[in-house]
């Protein structure tokens, strides 16, 4: 099915099943511990051996020797694969140009250099400790972003947006802001570390793994092992989170495959938690130089944004300019993204890549501008809303309700009651502040397919290689099928994550739910056409309702259509370019927070949070809300605790475990409220839906930073906002 025009009134507008807050259909498996995650597929294949990986102890240089003799002699050891026995396995996918294994060159700390296979986990781990590796360290590497030319704006990168005459407009602006903001590297830190069981059958390999993008992974593995894609099967029905860390195959999958081939047995490999941070990817650091100019009335006339970020390869870094090009009005704009090649592990996509760091900085800048102008920060944002692409005013936003997000949020939150003078509200020893920030994230889609099977008993089975990383794919895809076929969700069963099924959008970029449900719709329409053919009527004349198909006064139960046989249909949704040519399809939101800062210690606590989201049709308010509160929680982490600390001498992230890399825990998270505007966006998909899981993170950290400023009068421009950065400037006790 091609989606070449905006959706009209259709089956989803009846919203009997879609849009309902139904409980997750995979819930009983998850709460009982019976949902199968990658490393625990004991039943998948017999004879699984354990592979334990070893990461490089240097950040740059080469390995001159690996003495495996002691490890080989260790009990239970079945084999050892070292990086020296393979050519580099790298550049497996366009957006992931890293080296996973192979060769003597070390490009970053904890690059995988060996995997030791043994009968048991303990034997493999002990033997891995016996490898004697000789390195030549290259002392020329740079690990400090602040020392790069890009950090001071000295780069030859072409502007991503250059409209009007920024320099003149900024110079002549009545009110100006010129500040630099920094965001640290962040870790996805999903709860399930990367893990893969690999088994070969001749030149065919199966990987039971934890991967967000099954087709990308299948192609990547084929390239890694130099076999045909058809000889690769990936199976990933449950993922213990991803947030971008599992968009691409990682070294666990490569090592499991290599090791299984070498020892002639299935091998399972999981990355030990302390290896995840430096072996895989992270959100890159940024240094952002922001200049905003406005007239006396608070209308922005000039936006300048220069983003420096660390990247090991040409593809990488946190492109903080992404939201800046389109979020606010402003006729004169000069926006540059400047990745600096550095020898830290490669940075790549983490939830709302680009928007997260960009809005962490820019939404503080907006707060500062509002203060300079003497305007309320909500009013300042409203004054600079735009209904068209500010870089190309001929292109409108398809459906943008940012102003309504701000207004609804301000009203619900009680924004008008806030104290406007920083540092002036107290609750005992706590200084109270309120902060607001805007949220913006595009609503991309990807081609997505599914197969649907009408069973002889009238129930429906859905198959797709789509993944559910906690986002609720199982549930919203089943809801979609139920809606189109006139069934209840209990009539629908669904299998996901297997590369034997039709290729889907996969999970990433907040395109998953919007695209995959549209793919299910396409497959269901194909099934409806088959049913119409069997009934010898036009598909458009049929009504699917209550488990039956109605035509005029005739109603036929779906269980009678196939006459004892199943009926299968398969199709994909393909999105036409009208979607990008005629309009900007994006999502919008506003975050409001109340923070408390301890007047004596500078301790920061979040007291309440509100998000208002404009994301088109909400497919399931229960699971969508969970995505948003989860994103708000991640935003709290980014605001006040998360930071991968770089050792600038040895070139690695020091705090590479869940004790050193702090993420929010229960006591950090207060009451959270989410409001979804009742919008639909016909330009987005047939369901008029857009993603929400990444939107929820955008702007959260800045709202908190602004709240801390409002509480204390201390402006922190370097994340995370921790007590050491404010305590010295707090009023005397």
């Amino acid at each position: 099915m091609e989606f070449n025009n905006p959706a009209e009134n259709n089956v989803f507008d009846r919203a009997k099943v879609i849009g309902q807050p139904l409980r997750r259909i995979d819930g009983p498996l998850k709460v009982s511990g019976t949902a199968p995650y990658a490393y625990e597929r004991h039943d998948a294949v017999p004879g699984q051996a354990y592979g334990y990986p070893v990461g490089s102890a240097i950040a740059k240089g080469r390995i001159t020797n690996i003495d495996t003799s002691a490890a080989e002699a260790a009990p239970g050891v079945l084999g050892i694969v070292t990086t020296l026995e393979h050519d580099p396995i790298e550049n497996l996918w366009d957006y992931d140009p890293v080296r996973h294994f192979g060769g003597d060159e070390i490009l970053h700390y904890h690059q995988a250099v060996a995997v030791v296979v043994a009968e048991t986990f303990e034997q493999a781990r002990a033997a891995a400790n016996l490898l004697d590796i000789t390195y030549e360290r290259d002392e020329s590497a740079n690990f400090d972003l602040s020392k790069t030319p890009q950090a001071s704006g000295d780069s030859d990168a072409d502007p991503v947006q250059n409209v009007g005459d920024f320099e003149s407009a900024f110079a002549s602006a009545a009110v100006k802001l010129d500040q630099t903001y920094t965001t640290p590297a962040e870790s996805h830190s999903m709860m399930e570390p990367h893990a893969t069981i690999a088994a070969w059958d001749g030149d065919k390999v199966t990987l039971w793994t934890s991967n967000q993008m099954i087709e990308w992974g299948r192609q990547s593995i084929a390239k890694a092992f130099d076999i045909a894609p058809d000889n690769v099967r990936l199976d990933s029905p449950y993922l213990g989170g991803g947030f971008g860390a599992k968009l691409f195959v990682r070294s666990d999958a490569v090592m499991a495959g290599l090791a299984a081939r070498k020892v002639g047995r299935p091998v399972k490999v999981t990355l030990p938690r302390p290896m995840v941070f430096n072996n895989t990817t992270h959100r890159g650091e940024t240094i952002q130089h922001i200049r905003i100019g406005a007239d006396e009335n608070g209308k922005i006339t000039a936006i300048g944004h220069h983003n420096a970020t660390n990247a090991l390869t040409a593809v990488g870094g946190e492109n903080a300019t992404l939201p800046i090009v389109a979020f606010y009005a402003g006729a004169n704009r000069h926006i540059v993204n400047a990745p600096a090649k550095m020898h830290l592990p490669n940075s790549n996509a983490m939830r709302a890549p680009g928007e997260t760091a960009g809005l962490m900085a820019f939404e503080i800048a907006m707060d500062e501008m509002a203060e300079k102008l003497g305007m309320d920060p909500v009013e300042f944002r409203i004054a600079n809303d735009t209904q068209v692409d500010p870089g190309n005013p001929d292109v409108p936003f398809s459906d943008r309700h940012f102003v309504e997000c701000l207004e609804r949020g301000a009203e619900t939150f009680g924004w008008s009651n806030r104290n406007t003078a920083p540092g002036a509200t107290r609750d005992g020893a706590w200084m109270i502040g309120h902060g607001v920030a805007g949220a913006y994230r595009p609503a991309p889609v990807q081609k997505s397919g599914a197969r649907v099977v009408l069973e002889p008993d009238g129930t429906l089975r859905v198959e797709s290689d789509m993944t559910d990383i906690g986002t609720g794919s199982y549930t919203v895809m089943a809801q979609t099928a139920a809606e189109v076929m006139g069934l209840t969700i209990d009539d629908v069963s669904i299998d996901l994550g297997d590369s034997n099924y039709p290729v889907s959008a996969g999970s990433g970029g907040q395109w998953g739910a919007a695209s995959a449900t549209a793919g299910v719709y396409a497959a269901c329409v194909a099934l409806r056409e088959q049913i119409a053919e069997r009934l010898a009527v036009a598909e458009g004349d049929l009504t699917f309702e209550d488990g039956a198909v109605r035509h005029g006064d005739t109603s036929t139960p779906l269980s009678q259509i196939g006459k004892g046989e199943e009926i299968a249909a398969e199709d994909s949704i393909e999105f036409g370019d009208f979607r990008s040519k005629e309009a900007l399809v994006s999502t919008f939101g506003a975050h409001f927070v109340e923070v408390a800062v301890h007047a004596h210690t500078g301790e920061i606590r979040i007291r309440r949070m509100l998000a208002v989201c404009d994301s088109g049709r909400i497919l399931n308010p229960l699971t969508a809300r969970s995505q948003v509160i989860g994103a708000m929680t991640m935003g709290v982490g980014g605001a006040i605790m998360e930071e991968m600390a770089v050792d600038h001498r040895h070139g690695f992230f020091v705090n590479h475990d869940l004790a050193g890399y702090e993420v929010p825990v229960h006591l950090d998270i207060p009451s959270q409220e989410v409001i979804f505007l009742e919008t639909t966006d016909p330009y987005s998909t047939p369901l008029k839906a857009k993603g929400v899981g990444e939107l929820g993170l955008c702007g959260v950290a800045a709202a908190i930073a602004n709240g801390v400023y409002n509480a204390t009068g201390v402006r922190v421009r370097d994340y995370p906002v921790t007590l050491d950065k404010i305590i010295g400037q707090l009023p005397a006790v």
Partner: protein, 222 residues
């Protein structure tokens, strides 16, 4: 280029950057796994050592007596997940930092990755599989579904085991860091529950919903 073994990080560096960072690589021949013994030079000696590192242990898991022979280095977590193939208990960090491996031992919750299987002779262990099944859910499991107290589901078994224990600990009058008055009955306030649950990380960020689920069960029991 500087040539060095195993990264060449010095003891002084190590003290600066923290032991967890580099110990494995700096001293590979010193520590033989968790046994912390000198690694013998010969393969025969290693094999003898390996045999000596196995023990038999008997305990009860979810009401069923289990007798297993395990490597002394095997954690209770891996004994459950790998030896007994009870994979409901999750490994998120293997270092006692995330709580995904929370189980109950003799009525008290612990991180099963921080304790060795051989330390649990005659103990009674309850994992998520012992609380309920998809068709016969424990009230806490049902409440997690009702309130969407999860997303990816990986921390969920640990959260549920901790949630059950949290209410039991409050009822038993065991104080926490945030208990205002330790002389009387403890109120199961939001912060009391949050504090006690703070050893269980949920990166998907379902905390608000988990709290709602726990309060729901608390209400059912009241």
């Amino acid at each position: 280029m500087k040539r060095e073994h195993n990264g060449g990080i010095t003891r002084r560096d190590l003290m600066i950057v923290g032991a967890a960072t580099a110990a494995t690589y700096a001293f590979p021949k010193v520590a033989y796994g968790q046994a912390n013994v000198e690694a013998p030079a010969s393969g025969e000696a290693l094999k003898a050592l390996d045999a000596s590192l196995k023990s038999e242990v008997s305990f009860t898991v979810n009401g069923t007596a289990r007798d297993i022979a395990v490597d002394n280095r095997t954690t209770l977590l891996d004994a459950l997940r790998e030896t007994l193939q009870l994979t409901g208990t999750k490994k998120g960090c293997d270092h006692g930092q995330c709580g995904a491996c929370t189980v109950s031992v003799n009525g008290r919750r612990i991180n099963s990755c921080l304790t060795l299987a051989v330390m649990h002779q005659d103990d009674e262990i309850t994992s998520i599989e012992g609380l309920g099944t998809p068709d016969d859910l424990h009230p806490m499991q049902a409440a997690f579904i009702e309130h969407d107290g999860y997303q990816c589901g990986y921390c969920t078994p640990g959260q549920i085991c901790s949630a059950k224990a949290t209410l039991e600990e409050i009822r038993a009058g065991i104080p926490s860091h945030v208990t205002a008055d330790i002389t009387g009955p403890i109120e199961a306030s939001d912060d009391e529950i949050r504090e006690r649950m703070s050893g269980n990380i949920c990166r998907c960020g379902a905390y608000s919903n988990i709290l709602a689920a726990i309060k729901d069960v608390k209400g059912q029991n009241a």
